[in-house]
């Protein structure tokens, strides 16, 4: 399938500044440090990793909310980062975002109708003015909200309903890609499933492609065709859902999977729990060589000197010198 979105060697560093009047850059936070992936039409790429690994920065850069430090991205073969003015605005119609916190992602002073209708006001060429109200009602219906609530304010809705409003806003322009930046992590578990199901239904109905960011492997599995695991700004392993969950080869992926709770009590004692020690190193000064080596039980001298490339090892790309399948989930 043709690639809808291609990201090559994307880097985003934030300067760390000190000083009041004359600011000096004393270092860089390497939030995203060389990320490459592709996304096909109608496909879902799950991106997982713990807090601070650069997932959300990746989303911001992809949505062109932050300029990249270096690297390239192509949407339908055209470079994205050099777009300006009208071309950039045109691209916004094809790429939309669903943000993490449904309590801050909706303007509290606007009614639901204004929030969901704003995409039409910004892109009046999409639909004639008279049809906006009808379209907003349609969108509310599609995401499972009562179209009669069009004049209500966000604070009159629950978290799950608010996230549905955010999804309706993202859908309004009929985008081809939606970047979901942890869309369910702020919601109750029971509501998470409803929102995930809604996203799944919308995907098949509108042929959407998702970049689905989460810190929870079990959430991503439900929806993803392929999964990328991130650690300290880099993708350490990428593969199909089956490859990542059943045949993980990177020690970090294995450790993450072993931490997923198992529902069946009979299986609990038999699985192999990997406990990582220590904290995630600072992204200002990441470890030399392999970034995971400070917490890895397999680390050798070579890991400190030579950075493992993300290349085919044991069936799918994995960035470990000692990539080896280890079944952690029974």
């Amino acid at each position: 399938m043709a690639d809808l979105l291609e990201v090559r060697d994307l880097v985003k560093h934030f300067p760390v500044k000190r000083g009041v009047l004359f600011k000096q850059t004393i270092g860089w936070v390497r939030a995203v440090d060389g990320v490459s992936f592709t996304l096909g039409a109608g496909e879902t790429l799950g991106v997982v990793g713990e807090s601070g690994c650069g997932k959300s920065t990746l989303a911001q850069v992809l949505m062109l909310l932050e300029p990249p430090t270096s690297g390239e991205a192509f949407f339908e073969g055209r470079p994205m980062f050099s777009l300006r003015g009208a071309e950039l605005k045109r691209l916004r119609r094809d790429m939309q975002i669903v943000l993490q916190d449904p309590y801050t992602s909706l303007n509290p002073r606007m009614t639901v109708g204004d929030i969901v209708g704003e995409p039409f006001e910004i892109h009046p060429e999409v639909a004639p003015k008279g049809s906006w109200a009808g379209r907003v009602r349609e969108l509310l219906d599609v995401v499972g909200l009562n179209p009669e609530h069009i004049n209500r304010y966000p604070h009159q809705f629950s978290g799950g309903q608010r996230q549905r409003i955010g999804i309706a806003r993202a859908l309004a322009l009929r985008p081809k890609v939606i970047v979901c930046d942890e869309p369910v992590s702020a919601l109750d578990v029971s509501i998470q499933a409803q929102v995930m199901n809604l996203l799944g239904e919308l995907q098949s109905e509108f042929g959407l492609a998702y970049v689905f960011i989460a810190h929870d492997l079990s959430v991503v599995r439900h929806l993803s065709d392929r999964v990328a695991v991130m650690y300290l700004g880099k993708i350490v392993e990428i593969g199909t859902e089956e490859e990542i969950y059943n045949h993980p080869t990177h020690p970090y992926t294995q450790a993450l999977l072993s931490a997923v709770p198992v529902a069946d009590p009979a299986l609990r004692g038999r699985r192999d729990v990997i406990r990582l020690t220590g904290d995630v190193p600072s992204p200002i000064d990441p470890p030399s060589g392999c970034r995971f080596r400070t917490r890895c039980w397999k680390a050798q001298d070579v890991c400190a000197t030579e950075e493992p490339a993300l290349v085919e090892r044991g069936g799918h790309p994995s960035a470990c010198h000692f990539a080896e399948e280890r079944s952690v989930v029974p």
Partner: protein, 299 residues
């Protein structure tokens, strides 16, 4: 289904200001301050409702007479009827307060929201300029500005009022600017602004539709308190003899002319000063009530 409809009908949407109004209505402090302010505004708008006397009529034969049934507040050194002048003085005080507040809030808030939104060098320049203005003590700055402007000689009442308004606005805009800037910086980082940018919204739309409605509350609270403070500032400047002056009648002008005869005619100072204090207090109380009503965390 009909039950649900009834619930929906009762649950009419209410914005932040609707909520604030609902909250304010139940506060006695709000009603007390509003009635005091309305009374003063009425005095300013139609003084003849309260008195038929002439504020310009000086009867030297009645100089420094204490309050009596005929003249409730007595007479001052020049033989002016203090009650009549207090009523007529409200207008100048209110006009100076309102115009200064409008000037301060409009310039300060506009500059502040732009500085907060664009950041970078614009913010750096504006903030440093504001620091300079804040560094100048208010009274000193006003003395410098007003003595320079007053050097032109005799001026009409409009020019006198305009000079005082201008000097207050020039020296006070940084406060409104800083309030607006900090709320704008906070609002800019909100997810709904990110969502609007991701939709391709232009800065004009982001500032006007997303940031401004979410940033006005703190400035609104400031402006109610500032209005009282500016009325006080006018009195201060008039007392010093550089603010309002004859032929304009204001509470500050009255306090100024009463100051030399404090021991022989204390009533000449007491009444204008009392009205001034009560009015400033009313605005400060209103500001407090509005702030509490607008801040959802205090509910």
């Amino acid at each position: 289904m009909t039950d649900q409809m009834a619930v929906l009908a009762a649950d009419r949407p209410r914005g932040l200001f609707g909520d604030a109004w609902h909250e304010l209505r139940r506060r006695p402090l709000f009603w007390v301050s509003v009635s005091m302010i309305l009374l003063v505004v009425l005095m300013a708008a139609v003084p003849t409702l309260f008195t038929s006397g002439d504020p310009g009529l000086a009867q030297l034969s009645r100089s420094r007479q204490p309050p009596s049934a005929e003249a409730w507040f007595g007479y001052d050194n020049q033989g002016y009827d203090i009650y009549t002048r207090v009523i007529h003085g409200a207008r100048a005080s209110i006009v100076v307060g309102v115009l200064s507040t409008i000037g301060v809030v409009l310039t300060g808030a506009t500059i502040g929201i732009l500085a907060g939104f664009y950041g970078g060098w614009l913010d750096a320049v504006v903030s440093r300029v504001a620091d300079i203005f804040v560094g100048v003590p208010f009274v000193l700055g006003a003395i410098v500005i007003l003595t320079t402007l007053n050097a032109g000689g005799d001026a009409g009442p409009v020019r006198i009022v305009a000079q005082v308004v201008l000097s207050i606005a020039v020296l006070s805009w940084p406060v409104a600017m800083r309030i607006m800037r900090s709320t704008a910086i906070a609002a800019k980082q909100q997810d709904y602004v990110k969502a609007a940018r991701a939709l391709g919204a232009q800065p004009r739309r982001i500032i006007g539709k997303h940031m401004l409605p979410n940033c006005v509350a703190p400035v609104l609270v400031y402006s109610t308190i500032a209005l009282g403070a500016f009325i006080g500032a006018e009195a201060t400047l008039s007392y010093l003899g550089i603010g309002l002056r004859q032929p304009v009648v204001s509470w500050g002008v009255m306090i100024n002319s009463a100051k030399d005869y404090l021991r022989v005619a204390p009533h000449a100072l007491l009444f204008p000063a009392g009205f001034l204090t009560a009015t400033v207090l009313a605005f400060v109380m209103l500001g407090d009530a509005v702030r509490e009503a607008l801040d959802p965390k205090l509910r």
